[in-house]
């Protein structure tokens, strides 16, 4: 499939997909007779993984490292596991941040409705 379709399937923009390719995070991508990129569903699966890792805050540097390891074969599994475990820990931290912020929003919204009921008097 072409880049536009791959983009809608994985969640990234065409620009970002090309950028990830230039940054060495994708395997070699096929080209059609017109010279344009053609993506397999394998490619889209990988792009989708990158999308979710990035979306939840993994840095490109770590993603690049992970991409290299995946490309290198099974003997890199241990380091891959440790990257994904670390990211899992980061997710837990992020969830705590969301909780913290949600509390803050609740307090603020409360204070604001107090102001509103006061100014109605």
């Amino acid at each position: 499939m072409r880049i536009a379709e791959a983009a809608t399937l994985c969640g990234l923009s065409p620009d970002t997909i090309r950028y990830y390719e230039k940054s060495g995070m994708l395997p070699p991508i096929q080209r059609g007779s017109d010279g344009n990129r053609r993506y397999t569903s394998e490619n889209v699966n990988w792009l989708t993984i990158l999308y979710w890792l990035r979306q939840t805050g993994m840095s490109m540097k770590v993603m690049q490292r992970y991409a290299v390891l995946v490309h290198a074969g099974d003997h890199t599994v241990d380091e891959r596991i440790s990257i994904l475990r670390d990211h899992g820990i980061a997710l837990t931290q992020r969830r705590k941040d969301l909780d913290r912020c949600e509390e803050l929003l609740a307090r603020k919204l409360n204070a604001y409705s107090a102001i509103k009921s006061h100014t109605r008097d």
Copy 2:
């Protein structure tokens, strides 16, 4: 207090605090006789709010708007409420993203331990 102390209390770096001031997100900050900034605990409270909003993905543009409204007085409460409500919705979305990614990590880690137990044979 000085900028270093304010920074450790609110979670932002001194550089970021100065940057937020330049960007019009802070009220006028006092200066000591040495010309250095002095922060009140009010200032630190506000910086802490900015820290959490930013930390959970609010854009600086929206934060600037919110800062203007807070500065402008009680008649802006309705728009402030709508900004915070919108951010609450964004938080919910983020939580869903974390869940999605956590599932993905679990699946991947599972596949990796399968590889490991296989290669041990």
